[in-house]
């Protein structure tokens, strides 16, 4: 109804506009009238013609003026009737729109920065740490690439400079139930090596990881990784295989392009109850080491083999899940490093327990014991107690007392302080 009126109005206005000067000027003179050229000879006829045209113009003006007034009146009436009586009940509230797109930013990756400030007090004659440092600032960029893949980049900034902690593409849904990753990856040897420092329950890594599994930064390498769930009616079972460049920490060293390293890991997980679960794994890694290098030549062509067994038991009562939890962990690592002196059969492990006793408070203990990879006769042991407070989900204060006995002779007593904080995208909670 309203549209029809509008249409009529528009047509009328067009007609009016059309009836204005241009139309009058272009229309041929009415039949019977004298053409100006013809009338030019008779001034009287010309005057009569002008008078007639004036009259005609006046008629046109009056006709359209009346019609316009009528239309205006009609329109006013319609508008008045609509505002006066809302015949239709108010429309229900429109559903909330989807996440409002912020112009071009919608496709930007999720960005987050995690700061890790570390302070150390006490003495350590073997591996001293600075009194205070911004140990690491980790910047992450994460986004879906296309329907087939996603990308994750973690850039680590330290006093020594920037490095790529991880940077990889993941194909989560390729056929065969495989999960394929390619890029720079932390190797899933055991439980904690694959974890970034900020999600560890300690400010440091256990001795066995530092001695046998790649030092403070652990094992990370350029890799292609394939993981598959092994179907069985009982529990979660995942097999991971990796081919790496062969250059990882102080463990593997690729002295030729073909010196690849390999990793395999089998992980089993089972819920015991809804509150308790058990996570066990076994890992194997193999690659060339640098022990055989003399000058520029790799005379030894030596390899290192790592064998690992890990177990994690978790307890978190669901009804009290934000207040109470316990995680017990252990990792055992056997290292077989070939050297000129023969194979070094080193072994090490840690056992730890972390108990959450309030919503924001955690406490834990850890026992460390490990031989050294290049000299299995040297044994380091350690004990640590840790207390963590989370002001919010995005910041964390931690203190650790650590006593380390290096080579069964030199003792280090240290207090480690750690302050971690995260800004940006809300990441997933570690499990």
């Amino acid at each position: 109804m309203r549209q029809l009126l509008m249409l009529q109005l528009v047509v009328a206005l067009l007609a009016l506009a059309g009836a204005d000067q241009p139309a009058l000027a272009q229309e041929p003179p009415p039949p019977g009238s004298v053409s100006p050229q013809g009338a030019s000879a008779d001034p009287q006829a010309l005057l009569r013609e002008i008078a007639r045209l004036r009259q005609e113009l006046e008629d046109v003006r009056k006709t359209y003026g009346d019609r316009l007034t009528a239309l205006e009146a009609q329109l006013t009436a319609v508008v008045a009737s609509q505002t006066a009586a809302p015949a239709v009940p108010p429309a229900p509230e429109p559903p909330a729109p989807a996440a409002p797109p912020a112009s071009s930013k919608v496709f930007n990756p999720d960005v987050a920065v995690i700061g890790n400030v570390m302070g150390t007090a006490g003495s350590n004659p073997v591996a001293p740490s600075p009194a205070l440092e911004l140990h690491e600032a980790e910047v992450s960029f994460q986004a879906v690439i296309d329907p087939y893949a996603r990308a994750d980049f973690f850039v680590s900034f330290r006093e020594e400079g920037a490095s790529l902690e991880e940077g990889y593409i993941t194909f989560p849904t390729i056929p065969g139930g495989l999960l394929l990753k390619a890029g720079q990856l932390r190797m899933p040897f055991g439980k904690t090596n694959a974890l970034h420092p900020h999600v560890l329950p300690w400010p440091d890594r256990p001795l066995v990881m530092r001695n046998l599994v790649g030092g403070d930064d652990g094992l990370a390498d350029a890799s292609v990784s394939v993981a598959r769930l092994i179907p069985n009616p009982w529990f979660f079972l995942e097999l991971t295989g990796e081919v790496n460049r062969g250059q990882a920490g102080d463990v593997f060293s690729a002295n030729q392009a073909s010196d690849l390293s390999y990793l395999a890991r089998l992980r089993a997980y089972q819920d015991i109850t809804e509150s308790t679960n058990l996570d066990v794994g076994t890992s194997f890694a193999m690659g060339h080491n640098s022990a055989g290098i003399v000058g520029d030549q790799d005379l030894g062509r030596f390899t290192t083999r790592l064998y690992g067994v890990d177990a994690t038991v978790r307890y978190k009562p669901l009804r009290r899940s934000i207040y109470r939890s316990f995680v017990g962990r252990t990792e055992l690592v056997w290292s077989r490093r070939q050297q000129f002196e023969g194979v070094q059969p080193a072994f090490g492990y840690y056992v730890s327990g972390d108990y959450q006793f309030a919503r924001r408070w955690y406490t834990g203990l850890r026992y460390d014991r490990s031989d050294r990879a290049d000299d299995a006769s040297v044994l380091d042991t350690g004990m640590a107690a840790v207390l963590t407070f989370w002001p919010s989900e995005f910041s964390q204060l931690r203190g650790m007392y650590r006593r380390t006995r290096y080579a069964q002779s030199k003792t280090a007593n240290e207090l480690l302080f750690q302050l971690q904080f995260a800004i940006g995208a809300h990441g997933a909670h570690p499990f």
């Binding site: 909330a96 849904t173 495989l178 769930l229 996570d279 009804r319 989900e393 995005f394 499990f431």
Partner: protein, 310 residues
């Protein structure tokens, strides 16, 4: 017949029989919460199987990404999520490791139940984490409004029909039946709450804005100083003052929060602490969405009745 042709034949057989077999089976639906599972059950009836990842008595923000959930997602045809970043801390790694193309974000088998519902507390203007763990896309506890339950059911019905066009009429019929039951029940709940319209209350977390809005309660404060931040002494004292000033007699607490602070506030103000489950399964009486609202509404009405009788 050589090995290769046997393999090809086997592959062809799998390709041909695979979908046909799947069509006979029930649609496997996984939801993140028990509320969504309950609504899906109402709509899907015996044509689907439904399983929820989170339990109703646990805090849905802090579910653990257990590998056993990966197995559930691996076999799912349809994943229904609450959305609005409620599950941001645990669902993404589960989806990524599920090896299931159907339930990836944006795929056909991924349904965000918050599309089409009424969302409250959508932040306007600048937000920062100084405000606590705010949800930039609005309050995700939207299922506590029966009208939103209706909208969720409609989305689920549409999605199920998309998967099983042959059962479209079946789902539509069940949706209509659910809607009719909900309309009846909602009338009852609103009538029960009507005498207490405008009652001022305090809640622990911001779980109840849609509930309060629908049933005419006025939430004037929270035990948490900011969303996701545990109670602080200063805020608790302020809250006690405010509750005394406005004569507030009711504190609603979700079952997964500690009662120590709410109890001490109640002692100081003479208010009653009610443990109100925001989710199906939060208490054993709340076996489905009807039970959830029946339980909550009755609990609140009885408490208010007692408070006004005093």
């Amino acid at each position: 017949m050589n090995t290769r042709s046997v393999a090809l034949f086997a592959l062809a057989l799998v390709t041909v029989t695979g979908p046909a077999m799947a069509a006979d089976q029930k649609l496997n639906v996984v939801t993140t919460t028990e509320d969504l599972a309950s609504i899906a059950r109402e709509v899907g009836g015996d044509r689907i199987t439904v399983e929820s990842i989170a339990r109703g008595y646990q805090d849905p923000h802090f579910v653990e990404a257990k590998p056993s959930f990966i197995l559930k997602l691996q076999k799912a045809d349809l994943l229904i999520v609450v959305g609005r970043e409620l599950e941001v801390g645990w669902l993404p790694p589960l989806i990524q490791q599920s090896r299931n193309a159907k339930v990836q974000v944006g795929a056909e088998g991924y349904l965000d139940a918050s599309q089409g519902v009424r969302i409250l507390d959508i932040p306007t203007g600048q937000i920062t984490r100084a405000m606590g763990d705010v949800h930039p896309q609005g309050n995700p506890h939207y299922w506590l409004d029966p009208e939103n339950g209706r909208a969720i059911a409609t989305s689920i019905s549409d999605k199920l029909s998309q998967f099983r066009p042959g059962d479209r009429a079946y789902f539509a019929e069940r949706l209509a039946a659910f809607g009719a039951r909900l309309t009846e029940a909602q009338k009852r709940w609103i009538a029960q709450m009507a005498p207490y319209k405008g009652t001022k209350i305090v809640t622990y977390h911001r779980s109840f804005p849609n509930f309060a809005d629908r049933f005419g309660l006025d939430i004037v404060g929270y035990v948490e100083p900011r969303p996701g931040i545990p109670p602080s002494p200063g805020h608790t004292l302020d809250l006690i003052q405010e509750m005394k000033r406005q004569n507030i007699k009711l504190i609603l607490v979700e079952p997964y929060f500690d009662l120590k602070t709410p109890d001490s506030i109640a002692r100081a103000t003479g208010a009653t602490v009610l443990v109100v489950p925001p989710s199906v399964g939060g208490v054993k009486e709340a076996t489905d969405v009807f039970g959830l609202f029946d339980y909550g509404v009755t609990l609140i009405v009885n408490a208010l009745k007692a408070a006004t009788a005093k």
